[in-house]
């Protein structure tokens, strides 16, 4: 429980809470990038450099930008003053609090979590590349196929329908 961990955890939690609590959607996504960057720093602190940098590339770089594009294409210029929460917000927050209570109880009472830090576990890029090309080559290919299908599917779903065909 070092000071770096506490600072990074505080940044991440603050970013995610701000994401879910702000009114302006663009501000929400800005706070979301802060949360994602904090998570990437946590990965780096755990010794997973490749995952941390992938997190920055994919989430801060791509997913957040995509969300900003969709927000700009759909948001109306006039800001409404009605609530940002839906009509069943009380039940939703109760469920989330209950889930956190159960998870926290399980974590704190578990014997696994009192395990000490094993020395020197680093995921360098070279062994990850070797594993991706040998042991995990089939999942990697399936992932490529899935990403291609998702790309084409997203374009087809979001494409402007021609008049008369729909």
């Amino acid at each position: 429980m070092t000071a770096t961990f506490l600072i990074l955890a505080a940044i991440t939690i603050a970013g995610t809470v701000a994401t879910m609590a702000m009114r302006n959607l663009v501000h929400c996504v800005l706070a979301l990038t802060l949360g994602f960057a904090g998570l990437a720093a946590l990965y780096l602190q755990l010794g997973a450099q490749f995952v941390g940098l992938t997190q920055i590339l994919v989430y801060v770089g791509a997913v957040a930008i995509l969300a900003v594009f969709v927000i700009m294409m759909t948001q109306k210029p006039a800001q409404t003053t009605e609530s940002i929460f839906s009509s069943f917000w009380l039940a939703g927050s109760l469920i989330a609090a209950l889930v956190f209570a159960v998870l926290g109880w399980a974590i704190v009472s578990s014997s696994t979590s009192s395990r000490p830090l094993p020395p020197q576990a680093e995921a360098a890029v070279r062994p990850i590349g070797d594993a991706l090309m040998h042991r995990f080559v089939l999942p990697l290919e399936i992932m490529g196929l899935l990403l291609t299908a998702a790309l084409i599917g997203a374009v087809v779903v979001a494409m402007q329908e021609k008049r008369g065909t729909a």
Binding site: T2, L32, L39, A67, I95, A96, I107, P127
Partner: protein, 103 residues
């Protein structure tokens, strides 16, 4: 309280915040972002258990996190595309107003 407990608690908190956002916000985009946060919390668990696990050389946790990030990216692209398509029909991204099935 050990360090692994700290990581797991942070992960549980992020998951709960994402769940609360996905269940309570009105904007469909924010609901998708809440789902992304939940997936990220799972990734943090994968990495933490890999780091504190007995067999770190096998890289299983790291691989799981990498594939999970890829799946999440595909999910975000398709989800936001669906939000755009729904917006074109019903002119809103607020979930309370999406209450008819044949646009």
């Amino acid at each position: 309280m050990s360090s692994l407990t700290g990581y797991l608690l942070v992960s549980a908190l992020i998951f709960s915040i994402g769940l609360a956002g996905a269940l309570t916000r009105r904007s469909a985009i924010l609901v998708l972002i809440g789902i992304e946060l939940m997936l990220n919390a799972a990734n943090l668990n994968f990495i933490a258990f890999w780091r504190y696990g007995p067999n770190a050389q096998a890289l299983t946790g790291v691989m799981f996190a990498i594939f999970s990030i890829g799946i999440a990216a595909a999910e975000a692209a398709v989800g936001l595309g669906i939000v755009l398509a729904v917006y074109r029909h019903s002119k809103t991204t607020e979930l309370d107003r999406m209450n008819s099935m044949k646009g």
